[in-house]
């Protein structure tokens, strides 16, 4: 095994893990504030991909306009799901909220199957992103470079919102103590809806980059990345945005390295994430960067 082989695998792992991380940010934001595992998060990502797909193929928008519109529409969908499904169960036991989330997830998947049909659809990838360049013996697809740059930019924007705006301060307050935040005159419902909007927008952006990578989409595409992103969020310390990104990168690298070093184990690729999850919960339930204990 030479150096360039290893470097190649790590680069591949980073480009996959960045997407896990971006999707994980949405999980971690919602969990940090509501203590709710938003099971439907992966399916929201899928919805985002279909918005982008139909924007290009039905309304013949230029790709960038379609992608931008898809992110905005997905944010709106996130708000709608919060208002329609999660807000009514906000004061119910946490397990009821979890069941609701599972229901929403299945609803989106099956609505997707009914509306978009189960047949995979080819996704658009702009020409200029399809080039492969070689840097020091490592081959990288242009798409992956731009995806990673965009992911970091989005992460920066989200961190800015959380740490340097009034909305972000309100979010952190709700995570700390929702009841008291209400008493301070913060419109808690509005802030939570905004959180869902930010998380869903991040999921849509991650989903579109995911779809360009493979390049095809189907209504069940959100399940596996959704679950892995959740593992990434726990790995990084749930509730912590930077941690979610680190967890995603780590998970991506571990997964790619496993497949590269032990090709005979490639079939177990999807089980690795859960093995990591179980180990993390056993030995370090707070994750890499989390402070609070779960539960």
């Amino acid at each position: 095994m030479d150096f360039s082989f290893l470097a190649q695998q790590i680069i591949n792992g980073i480009s996959l893990g960045g997407l896990y991380g971006l999707i994980a940010v949405g999980y971690t934001l919602v969990y940090g504030i509501l203590r709710l595992i938003n099971f439907a998060h992966g399916d929201i990502m899928m919805i985002g991909c279909y918005f982008a797909f139909y924007g290009i193929f039905m309304f013949s928008l230029p790709w960038w306009a379609s992608f931008l519109l898809a992110v905005i529409l997905t944010a709106a969908a996130g708000i709608l799901i919060d208002i329609g499904a999660y807000r009514p169960v906000r004061n119910a036991p946490r397990i009821s909220a979890l069941i609701t989330a599972i229901g929403v997830s299945f609803l989106l998947e099956n609505l997707g199957l009914v509306l978009f049909s189960g047949r995979p659809k080819a996704f658009y990838r702009p020409e200029f992103l399809s080039e492969i360049r070689e840097i020091a013996g490592v081959r990288i697809l242009d798409l992956n470079i731009w995806s990673f740059v965009l992911t970091l930019v989005l992460l920066g924007v989200i961190l800015f919102i959380i740490h340097d705006t009034r909305t972000g301060r309100a979010m952190r307050c709700i995570a700390y103590d929702m009841e008291t935040t209400k008493l301070m005159g913060v419109d808690v419902n509005r802030i939570i809806a905004l959180t869902f909007a930010i998380g869903s927008a991040a999921a849509a952006a991650g989903g579109i980059m995911w779809a360009m990578r493979y390049p095809q989409i189907n209504p069940l595409m959100g399940i596996i990345p959704g679950l892995k992103a959740f593992v990434a969020a726990v790995l990084g310390g749930i509730g912590n945005v930077t941690g979610a990104m680190l967890g995603g990168l780590l998970l991506g690298i571990i997964e790619i390295l496993l497949v590269a070093l032990r090709p005979d184990m490639a079939g177990y690729r999807d089980a690795i994430a859960f093995a990591i999850l179980i180990l993390i919960l056993l030995f370090r339930p707070t994750g890499l960067m989390g402070q609070k204990l779960p539960d």
Binding site: R94, I95, L98, L107, N110, V114, V234, L277, L281, L282
Partner: protein
């Protein structure tokens, strides 16, 4: 002591006799399709009751019954298939010893299915019960996925994605209804025993339960293992009913079905779980019309496959918002409640209170 105990027992026996008579006539007279629905009703009733033991009664939100169903189904199918059949099925890798030589009767394979599944329950329980609440849900969901991935990859044990074909159709109405009855009886007795009291205490407040001296870890483990045992047998019956199994059969989708059933029945109610299993299984068949082409007035609606699942998932969300208690809440069906209901009706609605 309940003064009506004798009467209630007699009524219960009578009810069982009536069901048995119906099944007897169905067995000879009903169409294959109707018999299949009845079989599904019975298996899902039993599965729901066993799933409800851990989720409803004990309040530990497991999302992994599909793992136990898969383990049970594969165990029993591999035991009843003849060595020759296994040799013919396993075309990529031959099946490992001792599976390539043994063949057992159906009932032995079911007991083995339950036992192997319970053993896996025990092993999973150690990591699973280190965590609580929604983390427990995710970890059990993870185990469900891991079992499916492993089944897909252990070619020489499970035949991988090809699955097992040509399993003999041993499961009939008597097996399924007998299994349902046994499960309801056993789980019902367990819930009413002192162990059941402890399990309910854990559901209401785990810390308080621990404080009054309940060993919460082993009680949760007990519920988990019993639940896994029955799920394993249910998996075995399912395998010998549909005669073909593959890893794709045991996805989270199966767990979702059971979840809808126990939520509809009321988390924590054994009789509610049975009632809801019948409703959901029958309802799933009755709703088939929504997926067929329809004509409403001048409108021609083409068939929409998948519409039933949309309805079921919507039902789950709406139930969580408007009817969290389900049909029975945590109550149980009892003859005393029926009689006092009848008496209230006789006295007239005005004096109901």
């Amino acid at each position: 002591m309940d003064p009506h105990r004798k009467r209630n027992q007699a009524l219960s026996l009578a009810a069982i006799a009536v069901v048995a008579a119906i099944l007897y006539f169905a067995d000879s007279g009903a169409s294959d399709y109707q018999i299949r629905i009845l079989n599904n009703c019975a298996i899902f009733a039993a599965l729901a009751v066993s799933y409800n033991l851990i989720n409803g009664v004990t309040g530990q939100f497991s999302l992994g019954p599909n793992a136990f169903l898969a383990i049970g189904a594969y165990t029993s199918a591999l035991l009843t298939m003849s060595p020759l059949e296994k040799e013919l099925s396993f075309i990529i890798d031959p099946v490992i010893w001792p599976l390539n030589e043994i063949q057992t009767p159906f009932y032995v394979s079911l007991l083995a299915a339950g036992s192997v599944s319970a053993l896996f329950g025990l092993l999973m329980g150690f990591p699973v019960f280190r965590v609580r609440g929604d983390y427990l849900a995710i970890v059990t969901l993870g185990f469900g996925e891991v079992v499916r991935v492993v089944a897909n990859n252990t070619q020489s044990v499970t035949n991988g994605p090809l699955g097992l074909k040509g399993i003999e159709a041993h499961t009939d109405l008597w097996w399924t209804s007998g299994f349902a009855l046994a499960t309801v009886f056993f789980v019902g007795r367990l819930v009413r025993s002192s162990y059941g009291m402890a399990l309910k205490a854990i559901r209401y407040d785990e810390t308080a339960a621990e404080a009054i001296g309940i060993n919460t870890f082993w009680h949760k483990m007990l519920a988990f293992i019993v639940s896994a045992f029955f799920a394993g047998i249910g998996g075995g019956l399912l395998a010998h009913l549909i005669t073909t199994i593959s890893p794709s059969l045991f996805t989270f989708f199966l767990t979702f079905n059971l979840l809808i059933i126990i939520v509809l029945g009321g988390l924590g109610s054994t009789t509610g779980a049975v009632l809801a299993a019948l409703l959901v299984t029958w309802g799933g068949e009755a709703l088939r019309f929504v997926e067929e082409p329809m004509q409403i007035g001048p409108l021609d609606i083409p068939g929409i496959p998948g519409m039933r699942m949309v309805i079921f998932s919507l039902l789950l969300v709406l139930m969580m918002i408007f009817a969290r208690q389900g049909i029975m809440g945590t109550r149980e069906f009892s003859w005393n409640a029926v009689f006092s209901g009848i008496r209230r009706l006789q006295r007239g609605p005005g004096k109901a209170k």
